[in-house]
Amino acid sequence: MSAQKRRTFKIEAFKHRVEIDPKYAERTWKVLEHAIHEIYNHNASGLSFEELYRNAYNMVLHKYGEKLYSGLVTTMTGHLKEIAKSIEDAQGSLFLEELDRKWGEHNKALQMIRDIMMYMDRTFVPSSGRTPVHDLGLNLWRDNIIHSSKIQSRLLDTLLDLIHRERKGEVINRGLMRNITKMLMDLGPVYQEDFEKPFLEVSASFYSGESQQLIECCDCGEYLRKAEKRLSEETERVSHYLDSGSEVKITSVVEGEMIANHMQRLVHMENSGLVNMLVDDKYEDLARMYNLFRRVTDGLLMIRDVMTLHLRETGRQLVSDPEKLKDPVDFVQHLLDEKDKYDLIISKSFNNDKTFQNALNSSFEYFINLNNRSPEFISLYVDDKLRKGLKGVSEEDVEVVLDKVMMLFRYLQEKDVFEKYYKQHLAKRLLSGKTVSDDAERSMIVKLKTECGYQFTSKLEGMFTDMKTSVDTLQGFYASQHAEIGDGPTLAVQVLTTGSWPTQPSAPCNLPTEIIGICEKFRTYYLGTHTGRRLTWQTNMGTADIKATFGKAQKHELNVSTYQMCILMLFNSVDRLSYKEIEQATEIPASDLKRCLQSLACVKGKNVLRKEPMSKDIAEDDAFYFNDKFTSKFIKVKIGTVAAQKESEPEKQETRQRVEEDRKPQIEAAIVRIMKSRRVLDHNTIVTEVTSQLQSRFLPNPVVIKKRIESLIEREFLERDKADRKLYRYLA
């Protein structure tokens, strides 16, 4: 029914039959037949259209439509058979030209024949269900020329041969090709069936052979370059002389033969495959691979998988390399470099593909968390940058560095561990006044705040506030004391809010009497202005500048810690003290004391004390002497504390324990929040919900969650369901 388009209705004219000459039809047809011959013989100029039209009209009118139509078919078929013969006789390359020329002539003749037969086309054809004249002409051309046994295969072979020669680099007559394929398209499905199908088959075998050959002798990059060239050639070919509908088909053939079939081999090609490209930053080759593989199913998936695998493997090696672990700054710098490298590859070669970015992120997340010291190292990296690394660097560059750190921070699962360390490191920076730029510090805090929210940074911000108020307090203190302080020691106090700072429970040490006096004055002043507060001295965190005179009246200013100051003050009265004596006099905890003594006596160039016996380590029966012979070319000597910048193993354990301890209330709070809204839940759902609520800070261990649930049951926040033990109920 689809062929039935709008048609005009036939009018039955002349109901009364006119007696006409019985030979009339035959005679009229002869005139028309002659005209058709003349048209095909390019001799139409002598014909009268009006007369021919009237003749054809009269034949239809007098019910000779059938005769007219069948006569037309016979005559046209006869001419086409002659044309077929002349095309068959055309030699060699003239074949296509002859075909093209005859096709043009046939079209012209067909148009004129249709003009003559227009009335038949309008009336007889629709009512008798025949094919309209124009379509009839095309069908007859198809059947007598294109499907003629001597032309059909020759035409196909000629076309395919020309295309093959063009693929091999020869120049062919594209205009002629276009005319011929245009003819096949005009004939409807002929183009698809008689040309396109075999064309695609031949192309497939051509590219299958070529790709086999290429893959044996080319490296991956070169192969891809050639494949890309072939693809663009085929697209160009389609635009020049094939039907635009063939483009998708032929490119998919090339893609299938040259890429999809060899994907595995290309990606893993030795010395030039994907991994090598990634390692050597071959942006162009990578971009080419991306653009080619994108065209085939699972092509990008393959690139992504191999890249992910490679990334995870190199990342795993990086974070577990004991050499790298020695220097946290270097460790983090390596991570950042690796990230920069891949960011550049993805933006330059992979079209900023989101799925690749995700793969990169997930890989980083995977291997950064393989090493549980990553949070500490990242914090140390920031510490390093904020202590010295950023000196003289412009504000924008500082932002860049911090942003990169934040990116690593995002990968961390245990963000709370990072927070712990960051707090410690920040405290040290603030208290020792070592921070390079307040702006940089604050910018980092703001970044953490936007990333993790207010709670995460509230304590960090509290630390800054404390620092600021301390300055004011101290000013106030000295303003009130101006009369009484003569040449006694100057005291600089930082008042730290408990809770905001990572304070260790500090054993108080015995301060020298000179210091105690002014300390007491400060305490009185402070408690006088702030009622209801308590002050505890954190002697383990302070520093002191003391002036010392050595032999030959050499004067130096020593920058030491509070503990070291206490020790050195003892030597004001005696020149020799045993370890035990020092320990008794100062009451400094043993581990700290040993560390202090080590830095005072065992560091070359800073040994203001002399130890007996001379050894690297401090033993309990050692004795210490004032080193009279101490010399230094500096007036100011900074005596550091021998302390690993990185945490020692026991410290690490301790930090971890504290982190675990801090997590407990958070997990409990999450459980209660969830149960309060859901009332009844089974165990697995709680675990999932808690994990999803807390994962912005850390990844809670299911065993720990279970323990917390049990603890909440004990404290009667929850109860187990009486019927189903797997269910928990919230008790309001």
Binding site: M1, F9, S45, Y53
Partner: protein, 445 residues
């Protein structure tokens, strides 16, 4: 022939006509005149040539005027048929049809023609074709008329009682017919409008078995190329069948559900905007009226209305919904009752009842008598049409104000009417007459 000669001289049956190439270009290349002037036929024509055409000069004058002005004026002494024949010779019949009457407007209609039929019994249905023709179903026969109102060979499907007819396009007519008990005939077929030949017979298959069925109401979706028919079969083939217009194959079957009777539907209407089919099964075919919207993608009735609950204490005087049509512009369904009251049901609400329009009561209503027909409704281009006894009322505007009445003095009440091809056809119950209403072409100024 650009610039070569802009004046063209004809000698038609001895009379000389002169015109311009521009005027003749209006005829188009696919006309006799277009071919006559084409380069391929004028290779050796000298300048100032004269074309001889052995035809009627008076008709040529009318047609040349049509090409010049786009308007058709037939002198009173010239038979229309003569002009049509000449127009067909020149390949200008389509242009004559296009100029014959104006764009449809319910308020400007005038009675163009009355055609008396030759059927023995009462008319069942009249349907307008897309190009101005129509077909009339009487008993088992369908009479087909083209836009010139010439009768074509009548068609029938096995001489069964015809239930409904409809045009797929100007050349193809679908007929649904009732099955005779025990004969396994009836069903549905496509016929050529010009010759009356059966082109395709539709089949209902149920579990791969071809079933005989009675086909009822028809509707077409030209955008989706689908035909919808209400079907009643022997066993459980009750429901709405869907066919493809191009292949003629059954593509879907929507089975009748418990609370909606689909196989008996009086009226189907495809709603293009909603991609839904309105199905109305109404009194008196069923005691309770049901109107629903079927969504074939969701396979369900997405909206429905029924008076099943309202008519528990049914009395004869109660308002019964007798016909319905969906008005897509206002998202409502318009219904009519035995008192010729219009009512509206809102498609946007699922709980709404019929909001009867009080305005229609103002019209002087004749008491329903034996001879009256059930009222019918139709919409076209924002206008609502309702047949009431021997007239058709036209309602317009958002409040559906009565704006025109189409009535003439004889023929009895109107049993069916249809709008299409910019014409309105009304079939009268007596005398087998149908009227053709057209909008005249635009005024000169």
């Amino acid at each position: 022939m650009a610039g070569r000669k802009c004046r063209v001289r004809f000698n038609v049956g001895g009379k000389i006509f002169e015109t311009t190439a521009t005027t003749l270009a209006n005829a188009g290349r696919n006309s006799m005149l277009g071919a006559l002037l084409d380069e391929s036929w004028n290779v050796r024509q000298p300048e100032e040539a004269e074309y001889f055409i052995d035809r009627n000069p008076a008709c040529f004058a009318v047609l040349l005027d049509l090409l010049r002005t786009g308007e058709l004026h037939i002198p009173p002494n010239m038979p229309e048929k003569l002009l049509f024949r000449e127009a067909l010779f020149y390949g200008l019949l389509d242009k004559v049809r296009a100029a014959r009457w104006g764009a449809f407007d319910g308020n400007r209609l005038h009675l163009a023609s009355s055609v008396s039929g030759r059927a023995p019994g009462d008319g069942t249905a009249i349907r307008a074709g897309p190009e101005g023709g129509c077909c009339v179903a009487h008993g088992s026969m369908v009479h087909v008329y083209d836009w010139m109102l010439e009768a074509h060979p009548p068609i029938s499907l096995d001489f069964q009682q015809v239930n409904d007819v409809g045009y797929i396009d100007a050349g193809s007519i679908v007929i649904t017919a009732r099955e005779r008990l025990g004969k396994g005939d009836g069903g549905m077929g496509v016929f050529s409008a010009s010759t009356g030949e059966l082109r395709h017979r539709f089949r209902v298959t149920h579990y791969d078995q071809v079933k005989s069925f009675t086909a009822g109401a028809l509707s077409f979706s030209n955008a989706d190329r689908k035909i919808f028919t209400s079907c009643k079969g022997r066993c459980n083939e009750y429901g709405i069948a869907v066919w493809d217009q191009d292949t003629g194959e059954q593509v879907d079957f929507f089975y009748e559900q418990l609370d909606c009777s689909l196989g008996d539907a009086d009226k189907l209407q495809w709603l293009d905007a909603d991609k839904c089919l309105m199905v109305a099964t109404l009194f008196p075919r069923r005691d309770t009226s049901f109107i629903g919207l079927l969504d074939f993608r969701a396979k369900g009735v997405v909206w429905s209305w029924s008076d099943a609950n309202a008519s528990v204490s049914a009395s004869l005087d109660e308002k019964r919904v007798l016909h319905a049509t969906a008005v897509e512009e206002t998202r409502s369904i318009c219904v009519v009752n035995q008192y010729d009251d219009l009512g509206f049901i809102d498609l946007r609400s699922h709980a709404g009842g019929v909001r009867w329009s009080s305005r229609s009561k103002l019209m002087n209503r004749k008491a329903p008598n034996e001879e009256s027909c059930y009222p019918k409704l139709a919409t076209h281009d924002g206008q609502l049409f309702c047949s009431m006894n021997d007239g058709i009322s036209v309602f317009c505007g958002p409040e559906w104000v009565l704006t025109s009445t189409l009535r003439r003095s004889f023929g009895g009440s109107i049993c069916d009417f249809s709008i299409g091809g910019d014409r309105l056809f009304a079939l009268h119950s007596e005398e087998n007459v149908f009227d053709v209403w057209e909008t005249p072409s635009s005024p000169i100024i």
